[in-house]
Point group: C2
Chain length 283, copies 2
């Protein structure tokens, strides 16, 4: 692996392998061609052409969500979608726009609608060296089990705001108290478009940095992490460069942290490609 | 103006209006079609086709540089290129690769070869507020006269390294002493591709941050700045959002600073477009 390999891996989307999903005139997703074929059986909900999928269901967001959910249910039974049944994501034309409908989180890659997450780099400064708190994902996580992760990370579910999600996840995942998480600094967004076994992930991750006091030790309470380790940031970078110990998208979040804090020197031959590769332009 | 308008302005490159410049199999520039036509008169140096320009001159970098320079001289006489005659930029397939030839700085947009610069955000922290040192460009600057600028900014000329350029420009432009500039932190790269009156600017700017002590006041010694002002970062952002007081690319560097330091809140409707728009992927 190299740093850029991680970026390429998260941007392996190939437009020839997917068709756009439209709601009226607006594109809201990318459906892999095999997934699009599977939608032909539901002509009341989706109109499938060779070059696009269009939402055929009409009505308000609740009505559309119910219609789409019936399709999702049918595909869950056929094991084409791993439904989570406990969390929905808004589907909209852009961040902050009124949601057109809601989608079970497990079905998001099937339709390739944009998903938003929040990732927190929890760090300490010690004798001019930066250290990162690294979480290990639980063995029973559906995605990236046992992989290393940021201190806090979570998807922004329907009905939750960005800061609200950060505060909630910081409490559940690492028991970061409200007065401490309030000091987190928003530091940008990492974006990528990736084909996975399930479809297309079109993700935007809001990135926060939080400098932690020496006496803070994270503890997980929701079972999503099996533990935490405080690692020198330079050692984290070495692990990223040499392998896939970290969850696929967490490599990108940590690289963004490394670039912003001067941990990756401009003399590194990959510097420009990393600095310009972590922020796929949205379309 | 909006924040995103500044990004669009620096990325107004339209591939239909230019053709690639090749050296052997490798693209090294983008020549606007009218500029490409002007090169047809120099068949010993450039081969001009409808869809590309190829370097025809052979030899080592010195020989190629001399051949290209004769073309540049002819075009300078016709006022198609504003030759600077005091600074050359390396032309290479990528940052750090051996230079194929050198080009007068004034001719770089004509050939659309990639140029590299270094920009320094000089800031102060005062009562939890961030302030930015802002320079005003001299009235006699050829590009963006009288516009506001970063504290230090300069192109990376042939024979100078990145850090060497930063140290040199910090001394000449703002009299930042060596022990102070040594604390500057590399914080990423801003990239854009822009059509100007002269051709195509395909620029990568290495960005540095430097926290300055309260007793530091910049002084210019090379005549490139007419003065400096310490401004609250929030006021700088307001000016960027409302107009074009700042040099075109400096808007992008300051927006990058604002995103990284949490000055631009994620709730801003332009947040994602700014955070993902400052780093045009290289090709």
């Amino acid at each position: 692996m190299s740093f850029v390999d991680h970026i390429r891996r998260c941007n392996n989307y190939d437009r020839a392998r997917a068709v756009p999903l439209f709601v009226g005139p607006q594109r809201v997703g990318f459906v892999r061609r095999d997934n699009a074929q599977a939608l032909r059986r539901f002509p009341d909900v989706f109109t499938v052409a060779d070059d696009k999928v269009e939402l055929a269901a009409h009505g308000d967001p609740d009505a559309i969500s119910r219609a789409v959910d019936q399709v999702v249910d049918a595909l869950v039974i056929e094991k084409q979608i791993p439904k989570t049944r406990y969390e929905t994501f808004d589907v909209a034309t852009r961040w902050g726009a009124p949601p057109l409908f809601r989608l079970d989180r497990g079905a998001v890659p099937f339709f390739g609608t944009r998903a938003y997450g929040v990732h927190l780099n929890g760090y300490r400064r010690d004798r001019n060296e930066l250290w990162l708190w690294v979480g290990r994902r639980s063995a029973d996580k559906r995605v990236a089990a046992n992989k290393l992760d940021n201190l806090v990370a979570g998807g922004i579910g329907n009905g939750y705001g960005l800061v609200e999600t950060l505060i909630k996840e910081a409490d559940e995942e690492a028991m970061i108290p409200p007065d401490l998480i309030a000091r987190a600094i928003p530091a940008g967004a990492v974006s990528y478009r990736m084909e996975t076994g399930l479809g297309i992930r079109d993700d935007v991750l809001f990135v926060y940095d939080l400098e932690l006091p020496a006496d803070f030790v994270p503890q997980n309470r929701d079972g999503e992490f099996s533990g935490f380790t405080l690692m020198p940031a330079a050692a984290v970078l070495d692990r990223i460069r040499s392998g896939t110990d970290f969850k696929f998208n967490v490599n990108l979040v940590v690289l963004d942290f490394a670039v912003r804090h001067g941990l990756l020197p401009p003399a590194d031959p990959e510097y420009i490609d990393v600095a310009t590769g972590l922020h796929r332009p949205l379309d």
